[in-house]
């Protein structure tokens, strides 16, 4: 399976997750978006050594996973993109920061290790937050919410249309790639002699497609005003959810729950 087919599979998985029903799926997309952004902001605001303070932040995504019925493994599959990046930077921390930070039964843990772990957790938590957003919100509803939040129309419409054709283009390129590789045994990618024509051909054909697409829009009455079908009113329960989430995050930020709990045990 080539890269493009895998990408299409991933897109299809996200679509399928977003199409399910649950109390979370039913929430207003703008509420979910703002909650996710707030979560990420608060998560990022934890100090680089504040590992114990950070850990309780995992409770929110865990709860959402359960209530929405989303599988965690799809999220963890995406970790393969986030973690290497974070590690590429974080791995240097234990090297450059050797200050003693804690002692656990005779073993001294350096500040560098703590900050590396904090960084990794931040990476994981932020990934879970944005994953949960998209796993419970279809793109059309998200775009309608972006419009309600006054993101410019041109950008949102472009996002909607581009999303629609990403599948088409990826599929075409997947087929073209397979056809190419079948005629080029032993090659793993496009040979330099075809660098220009491989994508170039599809590019030129796509221009014609774009022209037909535009005609199609005109024939259905389009004159620069895009109407978003997914716009919904913001209800009390959406506001309650958003407020509740934000308060929860701020509470976790101010109070080190882990330390409190641990204190009751350790004294």
């Amino acid at each position: 399976m080539n890269k493009m087919q895998k990408a299409m599979r991933e897109l299809a998985e996200m679509d399928e997750l977003a199409a399910r029903t649950s109390p979370i799926h039913a929430l207003h997309p703008a509420a979910k978006l703002i909650a996710a952004i707030a979560y990420i902001l608060v998560t990022l605001s934890f100090g680089k050594y504040d590992l114990s303070g950070l850990v309780p932040m995992v409770l929110w995504p865990i709860l959402l996973f359960q209530i929405s019925g989303t599988e965690v493994r799809t999220c963890f599959y995406k970790l393969r993109i986030v973690l290497p990046l974070v590690m590429a930077v974080g791995l240097f921390n234990p090297i450059f920061d050797r200050s003693a930070a804690a002692q656990l039964g005779g073993v001294v843990i350096s500040g560098g290790v703590i900050s590396m772990l904090t960084l990794m957790l931040k990476g994981l938590f932020c990934l879970m937050a944005s994953f949960l957003l998209m796993a419970t919100t279809p793109i059309d509803l998200l775009c309608a919410a972006l419009r309600q939040l006054h993101v410019p129309k041109m950008l949102v419409t472009l996002l909607l249309l581009t999303y629609r054709y990403v599948g088409v283009m990826t599929e075409e390129l997947a087929v073209m790639t397979e056809a190419y590789l079948l005629r080029a045994p032993g090659q793993k990618g496009i040979h330099i002699s075809a660098w220009g024509s491989f994508l170039g051909q599809l590019l030129l054909r796509s221009m014609d497609r774009a022209q037909e697409l535009y005609s199609s829009m005109l024939l259905r009455g389009y004159h620069q005003h895009f109407h978003y079908a997914g716009i919904r009113p913001f209800r009390a329960r959406d506001a309650l959810y958003l407020l509740g989430c934000i308060l929860f995050f701020l509470l976790l930020r101010r109070v080190n729950i882990a330390q409190m709990l641990g204190g009751t045990l350790v004294g």
């Binding site: 890269k3 986030v82 930070a101 045990l265």
Partner: protein, 350 residues
């Protein structure tokens, strides 16, 4: 080069969002003025194509490895800088939302690092001046050579700028212990090689388009007479000045701070680090009333103390009870998962 959320501090992320947002706003305004409604479907289809095209494996002859295409230069050569910029935003948004390639809060920074340089710097400072000049002479083969040169130089330059920005943003966010100098020394050469390959691939595609549908390429109208010479000279001059400033500034930083931004990373909370970076960018290095107030507010509202840098706490703050408590929280999380699974099973048997 897609940055994850964890690599940025909220203030840096917000700043980059603002920068990208303003640029997007200006681009939208310009496109609205141009009033070409058919551009929208062209942008969407081309953006979708570039998105897919980034996954193509181009084998680099001689080596065993493969290269990929980013798309900033390609998009701006085909659509113009403003439309190209918006298309890149959308591509990056889809990558972020559906593939976790780039964080949600890092989107502003990623847009700046990959789209701004590629579309604006690449177009106005490299693509258009070269295409309008008389480099390589006259005629079709000369134009082809110009396309290749512009694509290669453009990709290399914009990728260097992008990579440098990544280092800057990460360092300003204070999450990396890696010294600034070392970080730069790692990032720049790698992206030089990547930029070269990308440039060659982009050049190949653009030359192909030029052969069959040259009218699709933007900005290739030749400037008449003196204009062309002047515009290229101006651009070269600008680039030279920029290089001097950046180079000079870099060496200053590197020499006076062997540990790279150490002065920003550790123990400056008491002095009110907000004075130097973060909240008060205009008053860089100068203390001002606004910065003092900001610093004071920061200390009081301690739930967001690390607005610009983490470093207000020291490593020794982590205690044993904290670690034990964290383990307990993890236990609670597992319990929640088990409970959730239990309830779902119950629902199924109903």
């Amino acid at each position: 080069m897609h940055m994850a959320d964890a690599l940025l501090a909220p203030a840096v992320a917000a700043t980059m969002y603002a920068a990208s947002g303003v640029t997007a706003g200006i681009s939208i305004h310009k496109l609205k003025k141009d009033d070409e409604p058919q551009k929208l479907p062209v942008m969407a289809v081309t953006a979708a194509l570039v998105f897919a095209g980034q996954m193509i494996n181009y084998t680099i002859p001689g080596t065993g490895s493969s290269g990929h295409m980013c798309g900033g230069m390609l998009l701006s050569a085909l659509l113009g800088p403003q439309a190209g910029f918006l298309s890149m935003i959308v591509i990056l948004a889809i990558q972020c939302l559906f593939f976790a390639d780039g964080g949600l809060l890092a989107l502003g920074a990623n847009v700046w690092n990959m789209a701004f340089y590629g579309c604006f710097v690449g177009y106005y400072l490299i693509w258009r001046p070269i295409m309008r000049s008389r480099w390589f002479g006259e005629g079709r083969s000369a134009q082809r050579a110009r396309i290749i040169a512009a694509a290669i130089i453009g990709c290399i330059a914009t990728l260097q700028l992008g990579a440098f920005s990544v280092v800057l943003e990460t360092s300003l966010s204070g999450i990396a212990e890696l010294p600034f100098g070392a970080f730069v020394a790692l990032m720049q050469p790698i992206h030089l090689a990547i930029g070269l390959v990308e440039g060659l691939i982009t050049a190949a595609v653009l030359v192909f388009v030029f052969e069959f549908r040259p009218e699709l390429l933007q900005g290739v109208e030749r400037a008449e007479g003196e204009n062309s010479k002047r515009s290229l000279k101006t651009v070269v001059a600008i680039l030279a000045v920029v290089a001097l400033v950046v180079g000079g500034g870099l060496s200053l930083l590197a020499s006076s701070n062997p540990d790279g931004l150490e002065w920003a990373l550790f123990g400056n909370a008491e002095e009110g680090y907000a004075e130097n970076m973060g909240l008060d960018e205009e008053d860089f290095g100068v203390s001002s009333k606004a910065a003092d107030t900001a610093g004071a507010i920061q200390e009081k509202t301690s739930f967001l103390p690390d607005y610009a840098f983490s470093g207000s706490d020291s490593a020794a703050g982590t205690t044993v009870s904290g670690i034990v408590g964290a383990a307990m929280v993890a236990g609670v999380a597992i319990l929640i998962c088990l409970a959730g699974g239990f309830f779902r099973k119950k629902k199924k048997t109903d």
